[in-house]
């Protein structure tokens, strides 16, 4: 039996090409990072290997912490490929565009982000394409290439700022979208208590991160408010 059988390209991202298929008969996706001709080869190699290693290491760490991340089944650093479990879910961007979702949706997105942050991980690329919504309405964060271990308030605040900007730009008709996300974000701490001690220390509380986000919003050049 062939290990990987590719079926079709799902997405041509800026990071990688994502192909659906099967791995030993199980539904899988293959993520392939191609060399970028516009980037100096030294920089390109450095970024590609750093981002791949990050994605693998942090996915495994988050799985241990109980986050709903895809299982990683095969890795080829030289080829720049990762084969992982195919997660059942629809990108948030499509769910929001379909207008068919319940009012807990964005709360759940906030909770999923906070779960990462509680475990000292910044996602690094929180666009509405990188958040999947499963049939239970829960949010699963994918695409961890830009993820980092983080302990400083600023990093977590910037992580939220990226999503804030995208929600405002791509989904301007949804009122208070970010407020809903932040409500869920804070709610998770209320449910679970203080964030656990991570290897490098104690991640900041949800409330402090939200305060920092407000500062970042005021600080960026012309688009604070």
């Amino acid at each position: 039996m062939e290990a990987w059988i590719g079926a079709q390209r799902l997405h041509l991202g800026a990071e990688a090409e994502v192909i659906s298929g099967s791995w030993f008969g199980r539904p899988a996706i293959l993520k392939k990072r191609k060399p970028r001709g516009w980037r100096h080869p030294d920089l390109d190699k450095h970024l590609t290997s750093k981002r791949m290693t990050n994605e693998i290491k942090l996915t495994i760490w988050l799985a241990e912490m109980g986050a709903p991340v895809p299982a990683i089944w095969d890795v080829d650093i030289e080829e720049g490929t990762i084969i992982m479990e195919q997660i059942d879910g629809k990108p948030l961007i499509e769910v929001l565009q379909s207008k068919q979702y319940d009012d807990k949706l964005l709360h759940n997105v906030g909770k999923a982000i906070r779960f990462f942050h509680r475990n000292a991980i910044c996602h690094g690329d929180l666009s509405t394409n990188n958040i999947l919504i499963n049939s239970d309405g829960n949010a699963i964060l994918i695409d961890l290439g830009l993820a980092t271990r983080e302990y400083e308030l600023e990093g977590f605040g910037i992580d939220l700022h990226v999503l804030h900007e995208i929600l405002r730009a791509s989904h301007p008709n949804i009122e208070n979208a970010m407020d809903e996300v932040l409500a869920g974000y804070v709610e998770l701490d209320e449910e679970m208590g203080q964030a656990p001690e991570a290897p490098g220390g104690q991640p900041p509380s949800a409330k402090d991160v939200v305060k920092r986000l407000e500062q970042i919003m005021r600080r960026v050049r012309y688009h604070g408010g």
Binding site: H11, L12, G13, A14, K34, R36, G37, W38, R39, H40, D42, L43, H46, L47, I93, G124, D125, L126, S127, T128, N129, L146, I158, D159, H161, V162, L163, E165, I166, R168, A169, S170, P172, N173, I216, R219, V220, R221, Y222, H223, G224, G225
Partner: protein, 337 residues
């Protein structure tokens, strides 16, 4: 409404510029002057004085160059924001005076949107992602739901500001970007296929947001540690431009659009243009860049956007003609195709 020329006045920062479009919206080159401080950065007050002093002579030259009289003007548009307050006020004051004196409509427009619209006019692209890279601004902008919306931007300083500040620290007067480009080329011609080893700099991409101040500090450190200045200039470009192009590519992937439009003064840089071209070729998209005179700040783009607003029936009353230093790109409703 009188048929005729639309005058555009640009004064958001260091450049004071008058430009024209005809009754069909066709652009004519601007007449501009840029303050070049002998030392330090741009002081808004000094820039404003510069603008006021040159105002009438620049306008005179524009009218003479195009063999038209003031009475041939049908409307006047000006940059209402965003920008430096003192500078914006000089352009707004000139525009109000001309509009009142000639009894023609006044149109206040958004500077960033003007960059997009002149780019679309010049390049014939339809629905691009704008990578807007200038001294004050670094933004990735897309038209979504009837507005131009900012998908990502710099979290600290503009890319052009980073280049100018780095240059200034090493004795190169404003504008530093073109000198850095020249030095980078010298490094490449002396060292074909140069390596980035030992010249690594921070690469700050956060989703579609960017940051440049860490890169600038690290570049200064490399120079102080004795790395050749040309090599550091080259490395700055390789890192900062790659990060910008990556963010532009993320915006393409996010929106499903397939055109990139470059704008702003830093878009004059050939290396940035080349990177954009390669990125677009690799993903089956197309890269567009207006001529250099329409990448930098110019009055013609203000005239062009004024014309679009005018044919959509929007003008600005005197009471609403106040400047807005923090005017947002998505404040302008886009009613034209």
């Amino acid at each position: 409404m009188r048929e005729g020329w639309i005058l555009g006045i640009e004064s958001t920062a260091h450049t004071f510029s008058f430009g024209l479009v005809d009754a069909d919206g066709k652009p004519r080159p601007s007449v501009s002057d840029t303050i070049r401080p002998t030392e330090g950065g741009i002081h808004p007050r000094e820039a404003a004085d510069h603008h006021v002093e040159l105002s009438s002579q620049l306008l005179r030259k524009l009218l003479d160059d195009n063999s038209i009289k003031a009475s041939d003007l049908a409307a006047v548009s000006f940059s209402q924001g965003p920008g430096m307050g003192a500078c914006l006020r000089t352009g707004a004051a000139a525009a109000r005076t001309i509009a009142e004196h000639l009894d023609i409509p006044l149109i206040g427009v958004n500077h960033c949107v003007a960059h997009i619209e002149i780019g679309r006019e010049q390049c014939g692209c339809d629905d691009p992602i704008l990578l807007y890279v200038s001294g004050g601004n670094t933004q990735v902008i897309a038209r979504l739901d009837g507005r131009y919306r900012v998908l990502g931007e710099t979290l600290d300083i503009g890319i052009g500001n980073m280049l100018d500040k780095f240059a200034r620290k090493h004795g190169i007067p404003f504008p530093g970007g073109p000198v850095i480009e020249k030095k980078a080329l010298e490094w490449v011609s002396k060292n074909p296929n140069p390596s980035l080893k030992g010249l690594e700099l921070p690469y700050a991409v956060h989703g579609m947001d960017l940051a440049f101040s860490g890169l600038m500090s690290a570049a200064n450190k490399l120079v102080s540690e004795g790395e050749p200045f040309e090599a550091v200039c080259w490395s700055i470009q390789e890192h900062a431009f790659a990060a910008s192009i990556e963010v532009a590519e993320r915006a393409l992937a996010h929106t499903g659009k397939n055109e990139i439009l470059l704008g702003g003064g830093v878009a004059c840089n050939q290396r940035l243009r080349d990177m954009s071209e390669i990125m677009c070729n690799e993903r089956g998209a197309s890269s567009h860049c207006p001529p250099r005179m329409y990448c930098i700040d110019n009055g013609t783009m203000i005239a062009r956007l004024g014309w679009l607003e005018l044919i959509s029936g929007r003008t600005t009353s005197l009471t609403h003609s106040g400047i807005d230093q923090e005017m947002r790109t998505d404040q302008t409703p886009i009613s034209w195709p």
